[in-house]
Subunit: 262 residues, 4 copies
């Protein structure tokens, strides 16, 4: 095992080495995310707090060791340090400072950046690649849709402010709050924290939501069509290939058969 193979083993992209190390690495990141989540639950027993703290220390030491290893083993250490993943790795070691001085506790959250690494394992995944290609092929349509959706949401927010502000000066206190309402309504989440109560506001909302049904349909339709288009073009390429093969067989066929017929 050469020095440059170590990062590959850590990433699970090494051609021959087992992926055990990479999987253990991912599991540690996952467990770390779980621990961060659990330790915020109020009223945990003291022993649980202590266990979680010790686990956090272990995780951070492993992460720091990993970072040092990666810097040492990188072909171009400086390039790694200033790369995107290098920054992520460095930032996820920093929470160790919180153990040195307690007022730096906020940096613990940086460890969450590690979660981004989970996506790395998926990077060589064929299914994800197909999804990415499909989304890439419709980036124009998605951008247009996003702009249209923003304009519709802006108009909805300003409109509801005009209709509802006088009736509910507390709920629809400003246009930014009305925009919050518009987004919550158009994504059909509908928390129910603010909603129109005037007749005009309700007619306006009803009309917009009715249109909204169609608006929400567009991204689904776009992604569906992109996925199917990639199938279609694969099918056409296959058909074209078959056509060409057939043509060639036709050209050669008679030549071969003709002598046997005469």
């Amino acid at each position: 095992m050469t020095r440059t193979e170590i990062p590959q083993i850590l990433d699970g992209t090494h051609p021959t080495a087992p992926r055990t190390v990479a999987l253990a690495h991912q599991a540690l990141i996952f467990a770390s995310g779980l621990a961060i989540s659990v330790e915020t639950i109020p009223g945990l027993p003291v022993w649980a707090d202590r266990v979680l703290l010790q686990f956090e220390l272990v995780v951070l030491l492993v992460f720091t060791a990993e970072y040092v290893t990666r810097v040492v083993c990188a072909e171009r250490p400086l390039r790694y340090i200033f790369s995107f993943w290098g920054m992520v790795d460095l930032l996820s070691c920093l929470p160790l400072l919180a153990f040195v001085s307690p007022e730096l506790a906020a940096v613990r959250v940086l460890r969450l950046l590690r979660l981004v690494r989970l996506l790395k394992l998926l990077h060589t995944n064929a299914a994800l690649k197909r999804l990415e290609l499909a989304l890439h092929s419709i980036r124009g349509e998605l951008a247009v849709f996003a702009v249209l959706a923003c304009v519709v949401i802006y108009i909805a927010g300003v409109g509801i402010y005009i209709f509802e502000h006088d009736a509910q000066p507390e709920a629809f206190s400003s246009i930014p709050i009305s925009l919050w309402w518009a987004i919550v309504s158009f994504t059909t989440v509908g928390y129910g924290d603010i909603y129109p109560i005037t007749a005009a506001g309700r007619v306006f909302t009803a009309a917009l939501l009715f249109v909204g049904l169609g608006v929400i349909a567009v991204p689904t339709a776009l992604i569906s069509s992109a996925l199917i288009r990639s199938d279609l073009s694969a099918t056409r390429d296959k058909t074209l290939h078959d056509d060409i093969e057939r043509e060639v067989r036709k050209e050669l066929g008679p030549v071969k058969r003709k002598p046997t017929r005469r």
Copy 2:
């Protein structure tokens, strides 16, 4: 009727026997589910409680009789007993114990396992098979999507905890609670039990929900494209078949026609 045909008749998979027994069996399971549901309604009259109790006893006796029959009639009784469906059948008889000793009332709920059997009737259904095949062909994409959705929900939950915990220490009391909020919001259910109130939390949520519109679109698009792909490949196979037939006709045609032309 031989001994081994009895389970087939109970399942409705017997080639010649009428499916009456199987349908009655399914109806009994359905009625049993309904009875379980009805008997939890508070303030039922005493006679209704009594009727439901007696019905339950009858159902359990039928289930027990069925279980004994299946064990006796199975080609390999032990294999049946330890099979998945054997366990389900046994567990759905156990609530009979609740009639013997009242403190075992909780086992009644085991009868619900019977509902799983309802799915068995669908097993030979062609429409379900097509759906299953389509879902199977995109299991990779669906798994990738599930992982991505989990990461997005985790990031959303942690993010909203950071933004809202100080403003609403009761509502967003811990990250697990925030994850609950994130799932309820991303699936666009939006109960409205907890929701962000700070400006930062709302901007964060609005941005995530906007992206969420696209995220929710992905599984629909994947399933659509899988169903259509199966149509497409069927079409292509048909077209290829036509092409081959045409080729063969072409090869044979001239041979037949040529003599008549000369």
Copy 3:
């Protein structure tokens, strides 16, 4: 104009007569629906109530006149009277009784049945026919999906009852109430009238909603694929037709050309 043409003119299906009468008829049904809706608004001024009452009387007289006309003009009056549309027409005249004796006011609502007639105008619509054909071609899959959705909702309802009943005996008071919650949650409506508050109930709900994202995707995917399949088969028929034409041209072509070459 013969007697039997009158119903066709009323329905707008007459080949030559203008559709004015049919459109006026539809407009009257629409206005009638609007009037029924408006007259329930509390606190209407007395004059508005009077106008609406008079309008209602006019509408009912028109409907009654129409019913009599249809019976008289029908080729087989008895067959019309006992047909589906005949019953609808009769029932929508009955509210006239409410003017005779005030205690029959409830029959007014029968006039709403007229709204069903609005669908009749769409009956000859090509777009609707295409939609109907597509839905018809996947009726098997939709039925399977409906059964699966029912089973999932039943399991969700019973599950949440087990988890939440002790914590919220008021909200989740019985399994039927829990089923109401399950439907409101799975359709992603989420009124927020009842929702889980225990950790177990929330984890259970979160898991189910996560699956629910995929479940909701299925009917959309089915309808999409059905609509596209009808396009595909149209395309294939067109392609096959082209192929046959080409074959024929090929067969005839050489015969025509050959003499000119020799």
Copy 4:
């Protein structure tokens, strides 16, 4: 630069001139929309109010200057003034009157019309054109769907009024209010401001929402199929083109080759 090129430069449709002016124009409209939104926030410091007011004055002067320029530079000034965009441009200058007499403050909102112009930049966008074509090809189906959805919502609204009015005379006070509930429920927004509480009302709602799952699926499916159909027809055109090319090659090929074979 000729006089008639100035509007093209402002619109960013000039063939050679850089689009800087058009982009700055768009940015100003966007900033103006943001300012309108921000100035409604209650409790802004005095200096912020003053800055926003001055910004508004600048924007209005720019808009007025632009309007005058467009009128002067238009080939047919009168035609521009009475065109749709001419009216929009004029209306967005009018808020200047609010600075002259404070009681005209309401006209400020007219400036929002400017946002409509944002859509103009998208007009030459290929992605939007594809979306428009797809939507145009299914306008018949979408209209039928809209009518069907309206009828279903009307029936739902009247139905829930009948079921819930007696139990909740405040919430379901009239049919128009019930229609508001029906739209909020069918679009799966579900604010939770009003919801059924009677058993009959809930069973009715549950049944309708179950159907609603399918109804919501239709527009998505329609748009998906329209987008894919446009791909399909493109594919078929391509295939037909290939076929014709092949035919031609076939016709010419033997002629060319035949002499070399003999």
